[in-house]
Symmetry: C2
Subunit: 346 residues, 2 copies
DNA sequence: CTGAAAGCGCTTACAG
DNA sequence: CTGAAAGCGCTTACAG
């Protein structure tokens, strides 16, 4: 007998009960006799029965699965987030279907539609860009959904985000204290909430400390490594170049490090660098990178919590997590004037 | 009308056709009239109809989804693999459900069972450890399955793996040429095929070059960072410590780097280091890390290709990809005697 | 505690 | 090219 075609009927027949009873035993319904439980269990084992999740959820409308849509799996922050979400969900009995938007709205829409078609019980999404038809569709269908890390401005859904203000303020204050007056900022895309928020946190911090608010010190990147490299090159080509740089995410920081190395600049001496997002690797660089840290574990765990509450019919409050500066060698030194790339070997 | 309850019957009613015709239009069956196509399309749009994938696959036995089980999403190699698999699958019209075994057999089994229940069309798996009931179940059920990166010894399934021999031989030869005679090796777990294979490639290379085959030079780790740190500490505590170390994966290499830094050893001068797996970050370290590279893009792309062939009823040959040494500063210097940790500040 | 029956939302021979 | 009908593998009121 082809084991792949074993159905609950086969189990029921072997156990000598009706499919209904077999189903009850399988789903842990207490209205079953010990004998029935025993015999069904034996039959399941003997036939290696695996219930068909499709059929089950077609009838019961539950799938015991959630969707997680991240912006970019290759970004260590989102890889870590995927990991914690998945572990938390597993502990609650849910399987996580992971989708990767690849920082593109079209792929986000494709995955979201696919998750809708699969009738996941809920979705955790780190949304791309601005408005999106597929996210509106989630709301229209009343599919339990929460935002993580990022939000979409006029869509009112529970979320877990980071208050970037504290960490960025601490970073700017710290750099000011080390004598930096012109701090460059590599911003994230302004179509993404974290990009906007960290940007405004930076400008507020600059204003509060009375440092140069020269708009030329701000370079808007796209949260990917290449834009971090481009940013460093542009910022250091200024006549009055910054002596310190803050990057709004880890990938752009990676690009910044690569370009600084290519320009033969010594990080922490010739120029200070601080990255948003604390990635394990940053502490291994020479010098170790100062970072603005926020807890990806908390974010993932709380995201699952909130989603389960929404699935349960509740209306949980959004949660905002703190951020904090960790000072390492890349920003520990005093400010020095930075030479433009053109005057150095490249 | 609650948009989430729109079914194909509603679409058919609005379009003035039968559900059968609506279904044919939806699935692109050519046996449909232009009028039917047009009116169904209009109804779908107006009602924002999303077909229920569960119901569809219950009847048609296809789900247009594949499963990918990786060993550890937080390992950049597997994150990259997930990315390329997903992109290739998407191009072929499949959605990828990603599961994370977290280097644990029990989680692997849980996900595999869940993927079976969801009736994915095929599964790509980087298997944990040795034999596994859930992997045997895949075969019994004749679920198209292929191995990627790792294999299980006596299970005969198509696979895409790396021939680690070339790269490791090049690495050993390169280190020998630089004057190293005692090369330490941080092995992966011997329960995993890549762990075993790279280990034997190393011992073969050592034998071929006539270097020290002292068993004390080999430390067996678990492919995680912490074991790389422990390995470095153990190897450098030897009376006759190695002057060069090869780590069998990127995570153990990260641990090795962290420990070498903690011991205040200068990589590339006091001790040479080579890592298996080429991770973007490795070139940013100071000094940049020499690596044994193999193409994760090819691996992911080919894995999807093979799986589609298996789904199509074919019996594709396994593919073995090449590996190659990339020499950077971490191994460029000449060999020096290495002092044990006890004689240094820690 | 149990079984017969209906139905979840689709698809697919079958007949026309 | 189209529709009525059966059925995919489950679950769940309903009646006993």
């Amino acid at each position: 007998m082809d084991v792949s075609t074993v159905t609950i009927k086969d189990v029921a027949a072997l156990a000598g009960v009706s499919p209904a009873t077999a189903s009850r035993v399988l789903s842990g319904n207490p209205a079953t006799s010990p004998q029935a439980r025993e015999r069904v269990a034996a039959a399941v084992k003997q036939l290696e029965f695996q219930p068909n999740a499709q059929a089950r959820s077609l009838r019961s409308t539950r799938t015991d699965s959630i969707g997680l849509l991240v912006s970019d799996v290759r970004n260590p922050f989102f890889a870590d987030l995927a990991h914690t979400v998945e572990q938390s969900a597993l502990a609650a009995g849910y399987v996580t279907l992971l989708g990767n938007a690849n920082e593109r709205t079209d792929q986000q829409d494709r995955y979201l539609n696919s998750l809708i078609s699969r009738r996941v019980d809920g979705i955790i999404v780190a949304p791309q860009g601005g408005d999106s038809a597929s996210i509106r569709a989630l709301i229209k269908r009343r599919i339990p959904t929460i935002f993580v890390d990022r939000v979409i401005a006029d869509i009112d859904l529970p979320s877990v985000t980071t208050n970037s203000d504290t960490g960025i303020r601490q970073a700017v204050a710290h750099l000011a204290e080390r004598g930096h007056t012109r701090i460059g900022y590599i911003a994230g895309p302004q179509s993404i909430s974290t990009g906007r928020e960290r940007y405004s946190a930076f400008t507020r911090a600059i204003a509060a400390t009375g440092l140069s608010a020269d708009p030329a010190l701000i370079y808007v990147g796209d949260f990917q490594a290449a834009s971090g490299s481009a940013a460093v090159h542009a910022l250091l080509s200024l006549t009055d170049a910054p002596t310190a740089i803050i990057a709004a995410d880890s990938l752009m920081a990676v690009g910044a490090v690569a370009m600084l190395q290519r320009l033969d600049l010594r990080i922490g001496e010739d120029i200070a660098l601080v990255a948003f997002d604390d990635i394990e690797w940053f502490s291994l660089l020479t010098p170790a990178l100062s970072v603005i840290t926020h807890s990806v574990e908390d974010m993932g765990r709380i995201a699952v919590q909130l989603l389960l509450q929404v699935i349960d019919g509740q209306h949980p409050q959004s949660v905002v997590l703190p951020s904090e500066l960790i000072i390492r060698a890349s920003s520990a030194g005093a400010a020095h004037a930075t030479l433009p790339p053109s005057s150095r070997k490249n």
